[in-house]
Symmetry: D2
């Protein structure tokens, strides 16, 4: 029995797409602050002849009868729902930023608001199974002993950036600062209609935004153990889904260039057992179109010869592996399903 709070937005719709086909979770409650009483199939025609669900409001207590609830609401709103749900024995998978950072001060600095359930920050597992598997197993264990799980699912930019950098950084091969240059499709900007998301302004346009100030920066630094040493620049490009992160890795030992083939083997080994991560053969670089609609991550490596700098590139679908798919993957682990359950579909080729 599952519920989704905030099911009318982009990540909410993506959760529904994945969960209506999931053999282990049955969505019973979906909420929206504006669509109470509206059938899902009317608000979102993709569910016509697929689902009979009807939106209820956020306050509906039916949600407390679920075993797993996904929070697809903005940060600060998630903080209000999580404590109430946990108290009622419901495991919570939060897709907002509210439970990603371990440090209350960092949260308050970057998000510009007080955190109203800081005691839960330590309890939450970081929802990026490829690098925080142990944390997720910990909350799974807690759930089995009666304490509902809380997972703060990783953000879209952090997912691609961290997975591209982690095997090299964790081995100590890399000298900071780490430069991450990323490009996202427009779904990353959310469902609100603004000048930024207006078709005519986003189409046929490229731009950088939030340079040095994007809120995903502290999350990346936390996961890589590189506090204050990451430069992160997000860009917007005219496509719906898809996120590409290009990470520049300078050798820790200035006198010695990194060995591309060795590093490539490390990456391949590190991710070999992970069902959603492919390290592409040398000479091949990832395309976001190969992963859109799926929970897969494609990583490619190359080297700038003269400087020896390694360039690691990762491609994900920002709404799936970067949000809803990741939450389902975490929920699979917490509830003991196969990690890929309900996430088996490959991307559309075109």
């Amino acid at each position: 029995k599952a519920g989704i709070i905030g099911a009318a937005g982009f990540t909410g719709a993506e959760l529904l797409r994945l969960l209506v086909q999931h053999p282990g979770f049955e969505v019973q409650v979906i909420t929206s602050d504006t669509l109470k009483g509206t059938p899902l199939s009317e608000a979102n025609r993709t569910f016509d002849k697929v689902s009979d669900l009807i939106f209820t409001d956020h306050e509906d207590d039916a949600i407390l009868g679920c075993e797993a609830v996904f929070l697809a609401v903005p940060h600060t709103a998630a903080q209000k729902h999580a404590p109430r749900l946990l108290e009622a024995g419901v495991s919570v998978f939060d897709l907002s930023a509210d439970y990603r950072l371990k440090n209350k001060a960092a949260y308050e600095l970057w998000y510009g608001c007080e955190h109203c359930s800081p005691d839960l920050l330590g309890r939450a597992a970081y929802g990026l199974p490829e690098i925080a598997f142990d944390e997720i197993m910990r909350v799974r264990g807690e759930r089995l002993s009666g304490r509902p799980a809380l997972v703060g699912c990783a953000g879209c930019y952090p997912t691609a950036s961290i997975l591209a950098a982690y095997p090299a950084v964790a081995q100590g091969y890399v000298k900071p600062p780490l430069i991450i240059d990323a490009i996202s499709g427009v779904t990353g900007a959310g469902k609100a209609a603004t000048m930024k998301t207006h078709f005519c302004f986003a189409n046929e346009n490229l731009e950088a935004y939030g340079v040095g100030k994007h809120r995903h920066l502290p999350e990346i630094e936390q996961a890589l153990g590189l506090g204050g040493q990451v430069v992160f620049t997000p860009h917007l490009a005219p496509l719906n889904r898809g996120l590409l992160a290009t990470v520049y890795l300078h050798a820790a030992d200035a006198g010695q260039a990194m060995d591309l083939e060795m590093i490539h083997r490390r990456y391949a080994d590190f991710y070999e057992a992970r069902p959603f991560v492919s390290v592409l053969p040398l000479g091949d670089l990832p395309k976001t179109s190969s992963v859109v609609g799926s929970n897969h991550v494609h990583i490619g490596l190359a080297q700038n010869e003269a400087t020896g700098t390694l360039v690691a590139v990762a491609a994900i679908d920002n709404l799936c592996k970067g949000a809803a798919g990741q939450a389902v993957q975490c929920a699979n682990l917490v509830f003991g399903f196969d990690e890929t359950c309900g996430l088996e579909n490959p991307a559309l080729y075109v």
Copy 2:
């Protein structure tokens, strides 16, 4: 046990996407005229960590060991494979135009080449279950009594056009000629790299093409029983997938405008039991984005008040319901699976 001949093209890739997740069919053989020996996951990265299949060539006899084979090759090529497969006891689902028309002369006129297995034209069922269910049940019956089935799956434009027009035309409400104006995404133009499919020429462009000459015209006329009375104009627009057909229906009785609400009820009744077709409420018109990636069809109706003309609009995914999904739907029916088996996934909301 299933096979795909021509698995490297757009419809072949779409068949693979659907069949690797299908609980009833297991793809064992995939062929390509150029990729023999290449792993699928190398030629098409969407299958990385999803499938271990390896391409073989069209002549490989392994294909004869399958129970169902999907032909995703161009017209004329399909004619060469079908007889050999049927003879070996393999049921054939042809996605090309070779077995859609019942009339040899019409085929040869429109396709400009001789048909080399005309005797099979009568045997083939027309693969559009919503209007040719009986034909498909007939070949299913034949298959059960030992004669392998042959289905000539409907084309993309015909699928949308016929489903938009059929309930009104079949009831005799409509006075010909019938005008059909349709728009397709660029996947409809195939995988060949040409000036027409070059990104920079297709992007930010709209054009009509093949006016009065498109080969889907006789197929539409055959299904609607309107030989020589259909005007069909396809257009190309800058998107990957999606096909919208707008059909203009003049009242058969010139003195009397059609009753929109009555016609709407007829459409709703006609399609009510069909799992993939939604007739939208009056006031609502279909969007291709609501069906892309799915096997669904959305149909909307409206009326031009002064002239009384009805306008029926249908939206499909040209590669799914317009090609591969339809073939799987037909195969489900022929092999006794649930009609929606392996086709349950809704479209991406965005």
Copy 3:
């Protein structure tokens, strides 16, 4: 000396693009209801190092010192400005719908509001020089004799639809009803940020809208002399600029199909002297990309053989020939400049 009321919208920006390079008009006043005091180059970066203009508000009397004023405001707003300007001796080129229809009742029926300066409807020239040249010459003459000109510039869909149909309809070759199926880019939906103009909903989507109810219908009927006999269906496709109208022409004499070559010659003759209209050779159909950014119109003709129906297709840039370029073309004629003055630039090839 020229002014633009409503210079912050899409058509206002397009007027500015054309007029800052125009050798005959010098833009001195630009107004906006929200940007008073803001430099143009700040509100619209395309004018950085191009123009030093600063927005003033709609009420600024400086506008009354202009000789020509372009109204790029919504319908109903234009009615408020035009009388005041004309009274002050300023010629007015209205890009809204307020002075297109000759008939007050038709305006009030279709636009759902009273017309507050109905006496001007008869005075206004219809701003589509290719078919209303005489009207425009009339107001030019009036201007020369001291009465400022009023031009109600043609809408985007009407421009393409009328130019595609006119030579055949005017010759009496065509039997109504006339079916017009048109596709527009998203700039046609305006600058307001809505779910319809949200990138993620407009991108990778096709839809019809306003079937039988679009306000451009009476304008098309008026220009073609086909009151109550036109069926017009607009569609939206994922591109910024570009509008394609496909018009279906049935022979007036039911017993006799139209002669494609003869009609093609008539079209070619009719438009030969018009500097912006090209009738493409038979076998060639227009692409919107060939006219985007320019004031050109490309028209192609083809025939559906079995039914004899002629299909005429016209491509324009909806913001240029469909709005701002047309207004400048009209202003050129009214002020005695060469018709192509300031409109010489061809489209971008890609």
Copy 4:
């Protein structure tokens, strides 16, 4: 009198668009290796009712009667034309890479072929007026004294990258290696129809390519005086035109972060008198859509607080300022026209 060799490609068409409106150059000869005898307006409909030019072939001696010839052919082909033209007294503006590098060995290393007129490398001016004004003035002077000019116009990626980095690098503020991350529209991949330029593969996709190996790297290093110290990663995004370069600038003095406001003033001062370069106010970052179709460059600066790294972003139209517009700008300077002559048009707002 001007000519264009290779006028059928993307940059050739862009040169034509600019030159048919140029008051100083009259295009008299256009060549193509495949279109000899074809009217321009037939090969490229954007010139219908605009130009009567007819293609001739590359070998036509009429080209030798021009005063200025633009080479819009691939590298290696340009080397064959330039010596013959110069000998005939024709000034040459080469849009290929053949005369950009000063060093024969570097050319042969990166382009993998011998240079057959290496003596001209020193004679050629580097065609990026904002940083190589003196070189261009030198060849202008030579032309005035009877020696035809040769200009090797800067590439698209180098134009954006160099202009973004130059003021800081030239002042010695920056510690190498310099990381440049750039994104280009698909016109940058040229007119050839390939899987890379196929609409369905380029659309809804992001990818990096040519990491560490792109041929624009040595050109960037040469202009910035940073041989072997630049890391350059180009990306492809789904739009026609537009190129964005994001450059990371670490402080030369490790102990001291760069002062953003001071650097911003330096950039503003450096480019103040340059008619096509805008340094945006702090807080604003460039959009490619603001410069598409124009010869303008927009540059924005921001800073990553924790590391102090400066991020400089530049936006250009890759076919205009990155190719044809730049060549016209250089030709204006060499022939004594105003630098902006024929290049005054602003971008389309949408």
